[in-house]
Symmetry: none
Subunit: 219 residues, 2 copies
């Protein structure tokens, strides 16, 4: 626990917010504020320079907003820091964009001090805890709301279509079986039927066919 402290960079256009955050974080022995930035562009350069563990990034900032700054940092650095987006409103539309470009999480400005500190510690030393990369695919996931009638769709039975949809979410046969409440052998039968009817050689080709034909759609 008493190793090197968690190095944090604060990016917010309001000085008051920055100092508030700094006061909170400086009170913690294992956290060190390594830099500050007041614009998105500044944030990018400061982060590149000091190479922190965590960045607290405001969404609304002049020149470049927090989203694009996040995007640039994650895209251009080889070992990028974990970026926590700081926002005022829970339903801020920016939040969704932040998640999509790869932010590790977000905190509300009205959060209690210890919640903020918890968040920093959490993202600093866990790359797989609450809502990781998976969330970023969520938007795409739920956009699958458009049946487009592929040529072979009519030939698939209801059950086979169910199985194909679950295959296209990356599930293994045993998992599909659990989901549908049937035995693994049954799933294998349906999978075989799907492969035959779609002309696919394996489940991967079947999933590709499902995407390409519009049977299922990405975001």
């Amino acid at each position: 626990m008493t190793g090197t402290p968690i190095r944090v960079v604060l990016a917010d256009d309001e000085r008051m917010v920055r100092t508030a955050l700094r006061v909170i974080l400086d009170a913690e022995p294992d956290v060190e504020v390594a830099g500050e930035a007041s614009t998105g562009a500044e944030a990018v350069s400061v982060v590149r320079e000091v190479r922190p563990d965590v960045v607290l990034m405001d969404v609304r900032m002049p020149e470049i907003d927090g989203i694009r700054a996040t995007e640039q940092i994650l895209a251009t650095m080889e070992r990028p820091p974990r970026i926590v987006v700081v926002t005022t409103f829970e339903n801020d539309a920016y939040v969704y964009d932040a998640l999509r470009v790869g932010a590790a999480g977000f905190v509300l400005k009205r959060s209690a001090a210890d919640e903020l500190v918890s968040a920093v510690r959490l993202v600093a030393r866990s790359d797989s805890l609450l809502y990781p990369a998976a969330v970023r695919g969520l938007a795409a996931e739920h956009a699958r709301r458009r049946p487009a009638a592929p040529p072979w769709a009519a030939r698939l039975t209801d059950r086979e279509a169910d199985v194909l949809r679950l295959m296209a979410t990356g599930l293994a046969n045993a998992e599909i079986a659990g989901r549908l409440g049937v035995g693994p052998a049954t799933v294998k039968t349906h999978v075989a039927a799907v492969l035959a009817k779609t002309g696919a050689r394996d489940r991967t080709q079947a999933v590709i066919a499902a995407y390409e034909s519009g049977f299922i759609t990405p975001g």
Copy 2:
């Protein structure tokens, strides 16, 4: 801090996992394991009975899976507990469903002990920290939009990107090898790297990730 302990219910079909979780949590003075369940149906009834603060819910369970158990608990209780989904794979498709039905978060089984404890404490006493209720509106509200650059695309090497593209056309390893003019063993190495970096369990999940992230597009 020294009020009533956080009461936790463990739901997992494997006894070993349950005891492991129990050992970890019992070591914490402010956490108390109030009950265990080995099936989804049992989880629902146990949770109703002991009324815990937090439920650690496995996704894969007999009778009723963790998703439906979560759904039932949240739907039928007036003050439902916070439910943390426990999963093995970061990209487990169940995760999306878990979020949609209202899970508070999820942890990976390979997480460190203190990460688990942090997660329990976090969800127990914060309803507005990392990824709160707002995320659940994501599926409904923020259905479409462009995924932009996937966070892992930058981390793929040129060769790995080549391999992923060929994987996404349905080619087997040997075929990719022939296409790239290298040996099959080399392709296997690249495939393994792609799986690791995308968090995919097998080539099918990797291809799905490629589609969903916009790395490749249908048509």
